[in-house]
């Protein structure tokens, strides 16, 4: 299908984006990679009077070191995340999640900022970024605020972002040296989006789990951290028993959707167990 008619503008700096959003916040939308927004517009589920293209805004691009972590411009494409040496070195979990989004065309267009702001409950990156304790840098009219990703997602497709705000960057702390990580995805046979995606990292010291983070996506109305599983693991020997116990706690750490038959709880358990098992094997 074709989109309804719309007006198109290309912004050159963040200020311009904010100004244009402010003019008519309810009917203006940022377009980044367009891979979530355009399908909605073509199905005429989203009606947008004006699109503001952010692809030429230099401030929103690039990946650089920032206080021991990475500052990733919101307009960074999935393909860049997957192959960027700094990302692969400081936050390999993010690179592996980016590498399994959609297909090559999608990864070459879609952006990290678009994925977060769209807040599809089945998006891949939120799990990795939750597990990495990412923080968002958000610009609004005359302001800039920082927000932990933990607080960002409110409901499916709804975030704390106001209609006249722009996500400018994502700050990702460097992973603990020696930590092992994995992103385990169960793609939906039709859409390819995760039915469940588990992002996890574990750092082991002296045979015990020193620290770990586990986050799930696709399985509930919003992505969530498996905090109870993390608690089970922390301080314990990284054993088969500990993993099994942690996996059992995954479903209870968040809200699941469509779980009347217990299948989604089962997937939580199986996928958390398998993800941790992969890490344990890798950690050898």
């Amino acid at each position: 299908m074709y989109t309804a008619p719309f007006d198109y503008r290309r912004a050159h700096d963040t200020q311009e984006v904010v100004t244009w959003l402010q003019e008519d916040p309810d009917n203006t939308k940022i377009i980044a990679g367009g891979h979530s927004l355009l399908p909605l517009m073509k199905l005429r589920l989203a009606s947008v009077a004006r699109l503001v293209d952010i692809s030429q805004v230099a401030e929103l691009q690039g990946i650089r070191e920032d206080m021991g972590g990475l500052r990733i411009g919101a307009f960074t494409r999935h393909a860049q995340l997957a192959k960027d040496p700094a990302v692969r070195e400081a936050a390999p979990l993010l690179a592996s999640a980016a590498a399994v989004i959609g297909d090559m065309q999608v990864r070459n267009r879609g952006t990290i900022g678009g994925s977060l702001c769209h807040a599809d409950p089945a998006a891949d990156l939120p799990a990795a970024l939750l597990a990495l304790n990412a923080e968002l840098v958000i610009a609004g009219p005359g302001t800039e605020r920082r927000e932990s990703l933990d607080a960002f997602f409110l409901a499916p497709f709804i975030t704390t972002l106001a209609a006249d705000e722009v996500l400018t960057a994502i700050v990702v702390p460097r992973m603990v040296p020696g930590a092992k990580s994995t992103y385990l995805k169960r793609p939906h046979p039709a859409s390819g989006y995760p039915v469940i995606g588990v992002a996890a990292w574990v750092s082991v010291s002296g045979g015990r789990v020193e620290d770990c983070r586990i986050a799930l996506t696709g399985i509930g109305p919003v992505p969530f951290r498996a905090a109870r599983s993390e608690q089970v693991l922390t301080g314990r020997a990284f054993s088969r028993e500990a993993i099994a116990e942690a996996a059992r706690e995954a479903a209870g750490s968040g809200t699941l959707e469509d779980d009347e038959d217990g299948y989604k709880s089962q997937l939580c358990q199986v996928y958390v167990s398998r993800a941790l098992g992969d890490i344990a094997q890798g950690a050898g």
Binding site: M1, Y2, A4, P5, L43, R44, R186, H188, P189, A190, S191, D261, G262, Y263, Q266, L267, V270
Partner: protein, 782 residues
């Protein structure tokens, strides 16, 4: 020169297709062309109260808005072209644009025609239709129930037809040692051709001629049907379909859309284009399958199947599409005994109307449904008598010396060696070893299974006399003209209408072999009623079987005439001239020769032709087959099931197919792979679903699981070759075997894996969730 038949030539058509130079309908651009967009009902069942087009008309760039009332008296009903005999079939009046009732979500009520497709769609959204919504029914069984909402007011019980075949088998069942009953659901499938449908129509006011470029598998059938609907005589109507991007049955039907566009092109005297969106393709292009089947098998305790009885409710949707009634009757009911020597069989089918998208042929059309139920029943019967399903197959397969074999419905299977194909498959799979490993793995809590499908199907539709007898409103012969040019180059005109299968290559191979020419000297022309005298199109694996045979016949006429010319030139009798590899020579005097090209030139110069001979060199043949052809084979699937998630992994897939003589092994391989993916897709992934209101819940590729290449292992294929005795090329047809054989092989394998849980059947598609639920219901893993 090596044999051209049997060699894996690369596809001639790909040179243009992979370079983006194909000539698809949507590629047509005509000066002054305007674009159509349909206004479709969001309701599955409603009375149309009023249609207000005023606002849409006011949009700048809109040329016209037409509603059902505008067409009502000028365009005939969209016809149904298959009337199963003795079935009391009721026609389902199908206006090109609805004007009183809409009967499925997607039924078109108006069309907007505008300068650009974008304006057309924007304006279509502004057409205000007032509907009085009514209750809908979507399931074929529910539709038969007392008090179910009627799809067509005057068709009682929503039964469009009631068809029966075979004789009563009650007595056999009453006396049988073992009776196994089961009910299957053939879920609804969305054919999903890569190219959606499209139509471009151009009216020539000077000659009163209409040209329609349209995505069709059968341009001449389209011409015939559209001529009737539009009142434009056939000689003033040209239908063109050069490149068509896949169809799988969904482009057989004549649809309202192309009729509307054609009518509008004449009305407005401007070329009009309509291109379907993918969303429309899901909701208005015909779907496939959708049966509920009650099946019973009677047999002895020691594994001899004596009778099969089938009662099916076929969901045909809101209107009877062009070929729809033939699919669940003739193409299904007459072959429910499959490849087995089951002496007694009967079939009964209720053609049910529901408030859903019309259902028509989908790859295999009827035969996958028949094959599925008999192959599944063989496994369920084996279980009931405590025998190995392979052993039961061996007992019941029709023996090789029984051909031609007359089945209980009087179909005559032409030739076969079913044991031979099975033996070949068992060379590729060590069955006993698999069973041993299966036992060991079960002890470790791992579940693997093996499934067979020893199938037969009927192809090469078909003898025209039979077409008439079974109610198909057309002939099923095929035409071919082999036109030799003065230089000896050849243009072949075929009435078959390949749309992705590759017969431009296969047909060139036939001619190259028979006339002894290089394949690049041969061009195959299809899909244009102005160029091809007549033809019945491409479906039912008939293209090479019937269309190829017609070319062979035409070749013989060319050779016969060229031989006379050569004999004349060589000054010998015709009988003394041999023809081999493009060279005429005097028998016993190999030095005295005339090339085929020289003979062609002589034919055209006509300076010295045998007395009484007409100039030029071309052969035209109309080939009416003697019988259907019956490809067969053995497919074996090996799966493992993960009880934790319900995931099914296809470990190996072995397909041994006997499709008769193979003309191009690469194309045959491609057809088998494509068919397998669609058949396995039905078993494991695909399924269209409606809610109670008749809304399609699986209306996009976000929800409808079209299988991806990565879901499959490398297919292991092999052949046995049993030529069809009545086909001059010995071919049997390969377009549908994969889709027909594979679905039950997969389900049999999964059920074999799940046997330790006491699970015997699950409805398709076998999604992981369903499998997991079934295991959980049986108490989970042990």
């Amino acid at each position: 020169m090596a044999d051209v038949i049997g060699s894996a030539l690369k596809r001639h058509e790909d040179i243009r297709l992979i370079r983006g130079k194909g000539q698809y309908t949507d590629d047509m651009k005509i000066p002054g062309m305007v674009y159509a967009s349909m206004v479709r009902s969001p309701y599955a069942h409603a009375r149309i109260v009023a249609v207000d087009t005023a606002e849409a008309r006011r949009v700048p760039g809109v040329q016209a808005v037409f509603t059902g009332r505008d067409l009502k008296d000028e365009v005939g009903m969209v016809p149904t072209a298959w009337i199963p005999p003795d079935s009391d079939m009721k026609m389902t009046p199908h206006p090109a644009l609805a004007y009183d009732f809409v009967r499925y979500a997607g039924d078109a009520v108006a069309v907007v025609i505008a300068d650009t497709p974008y304006i057309a769609q924007d304006a279509a959204d502004l057409v205000r239709v007032e509907y009085d919504a009514m209750p809908a029914v979507t399931n074929p069984r529910d539709a038969a129930k007392e008090g179910a909402p009627l799809v067509h007011e005057d068709i009682a019980g929503n039964v469009a037809f009631h068809w029966k075949a075979g004789v009563s088998v009650d007595e056999v069942f009453n006396k049988a040692e073992v009776v196994v009953r089961h009910e299957f659901r053939q879920q609804r499938l969305v054919p999903s051709a890569m190219e959606p449908r499209a139509a471009v129509a151009q009216w020539n006011a000077a000659t009163d001629e209409l040209t329609v470029w349209v995505t069709t598998q059968n341009p001449h059938i389209h011409r015939l049907l559209m001529s009737g609907m539009l009142g434009i005589p056939e000689h003033k109507l040209r239908v063109v379909a050069i490149d068509v991007g896949g169809a799988f049955g969904s482009k057989i039907a004549c649809y309202p859309d192309e009729v509307v566009v054609s009518w509008a092109a004449r009305k407005l005297n401007r070329p009009v284009k309509w291109t379907e969106t993918r969303s429309e393709n899901f909701t208005v292009t015909t779907h496939g399958r959708d049966h509920v089947e009650e099946v019973e098998v009677a047999g002895t305790k020691d594994g001899h199947i004596q009778a099969i009885r089938v009662k099916a409710y076929a969901n045909l949707g809101a209107y009877l599409s062009t070929a729809a009634p033939g699919v669940p009757t003739i193409l299904f009911g007459l072959i429910v005994n499959g490849a087995y020597a089951i002496p007694h069989a009967s079939a009964e089918v209720f053609g049910m109307l529901t408030h859903t998208t019309p259902v028509d042929a989908y790859r295999g059309a009827g035969r996958p449904e028949a094959t599925f139920l008999v192959e599944r029943m063989v496994d369920l019967y084996s279980e009931a008598v405590g025998m190995d399903p392979l052993a039961v197959r061996k007992i019941n397969l029709i023996p090789a010396d029984a051909f031609p074999y007359t089945n209980p419905f009087t179909l005559q299977y032409d030739s076969g060696n079913y044991q031979g194909a099975l033996a070949k498959a068992l060379e590729m799979v060590d069955y006993q070893q698999f069973r041993k490993e299966q036992d060991n793995l079960r002890k470790q809590g791992k579940y693997v299974g093996i499934g067979f499908s020893t199938y037969v199907e009927m192809c090469g539709l078909g003898p025209s006399e039979v077409a008439g007898a079974v109610g198909f409103q057309g002939g099923l012969w095929e035409s071919a003209t082999v036109r030799v040019h003065p230089t000896g180059k050849v243009t072949v005109f075929t009435g078959a209408s390949p749309h992705g299968q590759g017969e431009e290559t296969t047909f060139a191979q036939i001619v190259a072999q028979e006339l002894g020419l290089p394949p690049e000297d041969i061009e195959v022309v299809h899909g244009d009623t102005a160029k091809i005298a007549m033809g019945w199109g491409t479906y039912g694996s008939r293209t090479t079987v019937v269309g190829g045979a017609a070319i062979h016949m035409a070749d013989q006429k060319v050779i016969e005439k060229a031989r006379k010319i050569a004999a004349h030139k060589l000054e010998v009798g015709e009988d003394d001239v041999a023809f081999e590899q493009g060279l005429f020579s005097v028998k016993g005097l190999p030095a005295r020769t005339v090339t085929f090209q020289e003979a062609a030139l002589d034919a055209y110069l006509a300076w010295s032709l045998p007395k009484g001979m007409e100039p030029a060199l071309e052969g035209t043949a109309f080939y009416n087959p003697e019988n259907f052809t019956y490809p067969f084979g053995t497919h074996i699937a090996m799966v493992s099931v993960d009880p934790e998630t319900g995931d099914i992994e296809l470990m190996r897939y072995v397909a041994v197919d006997d499709v008769g003589i193979v003309i191009n092994p690469m194309l045959v391989e491609g057809q088998i792979h494509g068919g397998l993916v669609q058949g396995i897709g039905q078993a494991l992934y695909e399924g269209a679903e409606y809610d109670d209101q008749g809304q399609l819940l699986t209306g996009s590729f976000l929800d409808y699981a079209m299988p991806k290449a990565r879901f499959f292992p490398k297919f292991e294929t092999a052949h046995t070759v049993t030529p069809s005795p009545h086909n001059p090329l010995g071919v049997k047809g390969v377009g549908e075997t994969g889709a027909i054989a594979s679905t039950p092989a997969i389900v049999n394998a999964v059920m074999d894996a799940l046997a330790p849980f006491g699970i015997h059947d699950l409805p398709m598609p076998l999604t992981p969730r369903k499998v997991w639920q079934a295991i959980a219901a049986k108490g989970g893993t042990h």
